[in-house]
Symmetry: C2
Subunit: 213 residues, 2 copies
């Protein structure tokens, strides 16, 4: 069983959620369990939060540099969210996928729409909070954000949630462990899709189809 | 969170494999872990094997009765395999799905093609053995089958496997526990698809979209 393509092209996972749904915590736990997935690092003009590092959480750039990169066409998608610019480098994502790695993008609905148009085989996952009350509780518990930022995020959450149906899968993040199991099941199932499996097990299928009882 | 549709319409899973891939053992283990899935009982003209019961494993009927039922149009699909007729009652499947239950059909590639045409939202899973040698070993270990039956099944396995790519997912049944995890991940992921989740969590989504911070 020396499959000629042990690593067929990787899959791009696009994960979106309103602020406070628990997206980053879920994604970080997924990446711990699934080292074969790479997180795509976005470019942003948003200032780093305490503890955030360049090239690890984001490529932090100023607005002038970002706009030049947009003009140079390096972005697979870019969007303005909460007054800041965010973008994903096309080359970074494609290089990883061609090495057979799965890539995960944390993104908003606007970016997801652009990615879907550019890469229709991507797999979209939307994460919902279990209730409005819980969403507010989680946002207000984030001490680093100002009251003004929290209010803006609450208003923006409705716009984000209105696009949940554009994604392939929806997870309700009520019990964290269940939501993580959901996310892992989606990743596992996507890898079992027939076109990927045919590439991965090409030699086995040839052997099974060869003539002679 | 009194969702108005706690049970949206169930999903139809269609599972196929060459004889000896371990399909029935896998499906039985899945059903033990997932009581929300109902196995659809097929009609067949094949004689019962030792231990098989009417209405539990199959509805065993004679050829004349089967052909009358075909003429009456009661079958969602029917096919002749190894000289025996097999068929699935449309009403049985649809009643279960309308109650919100998932339904699983064990079927061959011909039946799967008919089901796909009649119910395009069904989810197809194909199970492969890990090697030709292992497939033969498993078939020869089934003491109730004659040498002639075994040889015919080996020849037919190639025809079955040639249709694996028509299914949505492919599982290689090498280690049983891994293959069962694969099957469970597919079922879990399918239930998280956006249209089903929107139905299930309609009240939550309305609450999250309602005006007012």
């Amino acid at each position: 069983m020396n499959a000629s393509h042990p690593n067929p092209q990787g899959t791009l996972f696009v994960v979106a959620a309103p602020s406070g749904a628990g997206k980053s915590t879920l994604v970080n736990a997924l990446l711990e369990h699934e080292p074969a997935i790479s997180l795509s690092i976005s470019h942003t003009t948003r200032p780093p939060r305490p503890g955030e590092a360049y090239g690890e959480h984001y490529y932090f750039v100023d607005r002038e540099a970002f706009e030049q990169e947009v003009a140079d066409g390096i972005f697979l998608e870019h969007a303005e969210v909460h007054g800041n610019l965010y973008g994903t480098s096309r080359k970074t994502v494609q290089d990883l996928m061609e090495q057979g790695r799965d890539v995960l993008l944390e993104i908003d609905w606007q970016g997801a729409q652009q990615i879907r148009a550019a890469m229709p085989d991507c797999v979209g996952v939307f994460i919902l909070p279990p209730s409005r009350v819980e969403l507010e509780r989680r946002l207000r518990g984030r001490a680093s954000d100002s009251a003004e930022v929290i209010e803006r995020r609450l208003r923006n959450s409705r716009e984000e949630i209105a696009h949940a149906h554009e994604f392939d899968y929806i997870i309700v993040n009520d019990r964290f462990e269940d939501a993580l199991d959901d996310l892992q099941a989606i990743v596992r199932a996507v890898r079992l899709r027939a076109p990927l499996q045919r590439g991965r097990h090409e030699a086995l299928i040839e052997e099974l189809l060869a003539p002679g009882v």
